[in-house]
């Protein structure tokens, strides 16, 4: 199973990213769970400077922007 983490301190863009990630999981049918990480100390472990960020299986894939549903689905496959 794959793990998607969405890093962000709860801003509007982060919420959109979570929604996109969940939609991408549903559409692609890949077995993956979406976790939202809001704790700043936890977020900083990934050494990012801009949020929202998307982490797939502990690898930072996107930072500082909202990825589209298609983009995340492509990553999952």
């Amino acid at each position: 199973m794959k793990t998607i983490k969405v890093l962000g301190t709860g801003c509007a863009k982060c919420k959109t990213t979570i929604a996109h990630a969940e939609e991408a999981v549903k559409q692609s049918g890949v077995d993956a769970q979406v976790i939202k990480v809001e704790d700043i100390q936890e977020i900083m472990k990934y050494n990012i400077l801009t949020t929202p960020a998307l982490v797939l299986d502990e690898v930072v894939m996107i930072k500082g922007r909202v990825p589209s549903v298609e983009e995340i689905a492509a990553m999952l496959r």
């Binding site: 700043i40 100390q41 900083m44 990012i48 400077l49 801009t50 949020t51 929202p52």
Partner: protein, 324 residues
């Protein structure tokens, strides 16, 4: 530059819709259509241009550069300039702050970046060009960068490290030089589609604020008589600038929402320096920003930060009133 648009909108509002150019509604509607289209065109253009610059100077590269180079004071100017070219999102200010500290970048330099970032950015610049022209935009951008530089330097001299939250102090003790930034190998043309998508994303994001701002501005433009505010806030009133700043600090809006209103205030008689100082206070400092920063610093430090920046905004307000 926009004569064609003026003619087009006049044809639409006065000839097609049939409103008289001398009526309140006619003036308000003309203002709304003209400004909306003009601002949106400029917004996309400038966001796109800034996007290209940004593709070559992403934030990670800036951090790596500032972390690895000591520039004998030049780092304040660099950090402030980088703050201006990096797109701003208030939700990123805390990760940015920590990331900079982690890279061993001095507190003052980090502040220089943090001050300029919301003040000068692609959205603010685009709207400034549309509303006050190129000369005023240039003066605004330069003074914004100067404000960040001086503000960052002064804050750096105050030695506020003990006022950071404990875990940030821990991060600071473990600070280490960042590795050299490795650029993605992409040609200019390969970057363009991504830059265009980003630019469109930014424009789409601020669109509602721009339209609401312009709508309020249009209503004021059509219905408030010219010179109305002069009765209350005259140029000779020495307290006008500090009052405008103190009023603006707690408020929060981005440049997109507040600038159309600023433009009308200026047209109706508020001195431009006072108006710009108000705008800088609104976009640069706010209660939501303070709440975010609470995660990394004590209230005392936030108060010193806000006080210093507000002081320099007041100074620039007086300066704008003299030179513009």
């Amino acid at each position: 530059m926009f004569n064609w648009l003026d003619a087009l909108v006049a044809w639409l509002v006065y000839d097609t819709i049939g409103l008289d150019a001398t009526t309140h509604w006619g003036q308000a509607l003309h203002f709304f259509f003209y400004d909306s289209v003009k601002i949106l065109l400029l917004l996309f253009l400038i966001t796109f241009l800034m996007g290209i610059v940004n593709a070559y100077f992403p934030i990670d590269r800036i951090r790596s550069f500032l972390s690895r180079n000591k520039l004998y004071g030049g780092e304040y100017v660099m950090a402030s300039t980088f703050g201006a070219i990096t797109p701003f999102c208030s939700c990123s200010s805390v990760p940015l702050f920590i990331g900079f500290v982690k890279g061993g970048i001095p507190l003052g330099v980090t502040f220089a970046f943090l001050i300029t970032s919301p003040l000068v950015n692609e959205v603010a610049l685009a709207m400034f060009v549309g509303m006050f022209g190129l000369k005023a935009t240039l003066i605004y951008a330069v003074s914004g960068i100067l404000l960040g530089t001086v503000g960052g330097y002064v804050l750096g001299r105050l030695k506020m490290e003990p006022l950071l939250t404990d875990w940030v102090q821990g991060v600071m003790r473990q600070a280490h030089m960042e590795e050299a930034y490795e650029e993605e190998k992409l040609t200019f043309l390969q970057r363009l589609p991504g830059v265009g998508r980003e630019a469109w994303g930014i424009v789409k994001g601020v669109l509602p604020y721009v339209l609401i701002g312009i709508a309020i501005g249009a209503a004021m433009h059509g219905f408030i008589p010219t010179g109305f505010f002069e009765k209350y806030i005259s140029k000779d009133n020495p307290l006008a600038v500090p009052l405008a700043v103190i009023l603006g600090v707690p408020m929060y809006s981005n440049a997109a929402g507040v600038l159309p209103i600023i433009q009308v205030l200026v047209q109706k008689g508020i001195p431009i320096g006072t108006a710009i100082a108000f705008m800088m206070a609104v976009v640069g400092l706010s209660i939501p920003e303070a709440m975010l920063l609470k995660k990394v610093m004590s209230w005392k430090m936030i108060a010193i930060f806000f006080g210093t920046v507000a002081f320099f905004i007041i100074l620039s307000g007086y300066l704008f009133n003299i030179i513009l």
